[in-house]
């Protein structure tokens, strides 16, 4: 009886929420200029326990899958046809322990190969923080079987290295919109222009015949080659009639330093949406 009570007490104790574990990463995208060849990111540990952090680089860029969801294409060994900077951008330090409520600046240093052509080169920065430690002591019932898993969190952000003149733009085609149950579903095809990724915002507005807004959505987007994104947003019940979807891509990004966001004309289009 006592064993069961103790085992139960342990189970309750170990199921209790742990002190939050995590590290703040800022900014969420890193841009390095060929003249300066360095940049920094800031890590901050807002929690009461030390955070063990490791940093690595990889090559990858956003794409859309068959459902139109944005995902990341990673290439373990990028060949010369891919504009990878992963092999020649390094983080210092790469391993660290950040004390509670402390911050750590991580410097990124680029050593590009000689003769690097003008253009934009990409990589991914992976910041890995170890989660909370499990309470492995205090198990009183030696015949019990206890199971628990620890967590490691990875933050994977983009980084870009720019050499010489870089330009960007995007073309928009195959815009389509329809109502599916209670949602507005919008799809399109995007082609990047220029020699750098198009980093901006997408904004869609559904209006009725009087111009009244019936639904709206927006979000950040990065077009590195091509994309076929699909957006679904709740619209609720709409009366039968003719509506219009206005869809636009701009280079307005509130979350990034305006000086690193390449300005471009963007793209816009509109399409009819009929509800029978």
């Amino acid at each position: 009886m006592m064993r069961r009570l103790l085992a139960g007490a342990f189970a309750i104790a170990s199921a209790a929420p742990l002190a939050a574990q995590g590290v703040l990463v800022a900014p969420t995208a890193v841009y390095i200029d060929h003249v300066r060849r360095s940049s920094t990111i800031t890590l901050y540990n807002p929690n009461p326990d030390p955070a063990e952090v490791t940093i690595s680089t990889a090559f990858g860029y956003p794409i859309t899958d068959s459902l139109g969801h944005i995902t990341l294409r990673t290439v373990a060994q990028p060949d010369s046809t891919l504009p990878s900077a992963a092999a020649w951008i390094q983080a210092f330090p790469r391993r660290m322990t950040i004390a509670p409520l402390e911050r750590q600046t991580v410097r990124l240093l680029a050593t590009p190969p000689a003769g690097l052509k003008d253009g934009e080169y990409w990589g991914r920065l992976i910041i890995s923080a170890k989660g909370g430690k499990l309470a492995v002591t205090g198990m009183q019932d030696t015949s019990a079987v206890q199971v628990a898993l620890t967590m490691i969190v990875n933050t994977n952000i983009g980084m870009a290295y720019r050499k010489g003149p870089v330009t960007t733009g995007v073309t928009l085609s195959q815009l389509a919109a329809r109502i599916v149950r209670d949602s507005l579903v919008v799809s399109s095809h995007l082609d990047r222009q220029g020699n750098a990724a198009f980093v901006g915002m997408v904004h869609g507005v559904l209006v009725d015949s009087t111009g009244a807004v019936k639904a709206e959505f927006q979000g950040p987007i990065g077009v590195y080659y091509t994309m076929d994104p699909r957006y679904a947003t709740a619209v609720g019940p709409l009366p039968a009639g003719r509506y219009r979807l206005r869809f636009a891509l701009t280079t307005d990004r509130e979350d990034l330093d305006p000086r690193v966001v390449l300005k471009a004309a963007g793209a816009r289009d509109s399409v009819d949406v009929r509800i029978p």
Partner: protein, 174 residues
């Protein structure tokens, strides 16, 4: 105020500080552009996946909606999309018994949930953690998304007693 909200407040302070520091660095360099911190992202582990005490010879499942489910809170950029992927264990090791004492663990197509803005798995979207999914941060005011994960362990009838542990790696791609 939650710890995540405190982190966001800290971020705002950090942003201002980083802007100044960056500008100072820029003054010492030649013709370069400064990096300015405007928005950060925090992934916080709120809870480990915990099966507690499990019976021998019987599969035990923790649903992603259960109190023992693992949970993360991600604070980031309003309305932004983020890809969520996992590296999942297939075997757990007994950290007390001799090496080789293991227990299989599996994750089904409904073992994970994500929810936008709201810390409530019951109202979230189910997804397969073996595949991953694309989540979305909440609107201005609550630019947060939550992720939960459950799983199933299958202890053999003759499994050795002790504490079995493994590691789940969650990756947020922004």
């Amino acid at each position: 105020m939650s710890r995540a909200r405190l982190a966001v407040c800290a971020l705002l302070t950090l942003a201002a500080t980083a802007r100044r520091a960056s500008a100072q660095f820029n003054n010492a360099s030649i013709g370069s552009t400064a990096e300015v911190v405007t928005v950060g992202m925090t992934i916080t582990t709120l809870r480990n996946l915990n099966f507690g005490s499990v019976p021998k010879g019987v599969a035990t499942t923790v649903l992603p909606t259960a109190a023992g489910a693992g949970e993360w809170q991600v604070d980031g950029n309003k309305n932004a999309f983020a890809t969520i992927t996992f590296t999942l264990p297939t075997i757990l090791n007994n950290i007390q018994a001799a090496p080789g004492s293991t227990m299989p663990i599996t994750f089904s197509a409904t073992s994970a949930i994500w929810n936008r803005s709201t810390n409530n798995p019951a109202a979230g979207t189910v997804f397969n953690p073996n595949v991953g999914t694309t989540g979305r941060f909440g609107p201005p005011g609550t630019p947060t998304l939550y992720v939960w994960i459950g799983g199933t362990v299958n202890p053999a009838a003759n499994v050795k007693p002790g504490i079995y542990q493994g590691t789940i790696i969650v990756t947020l791609i922004y």
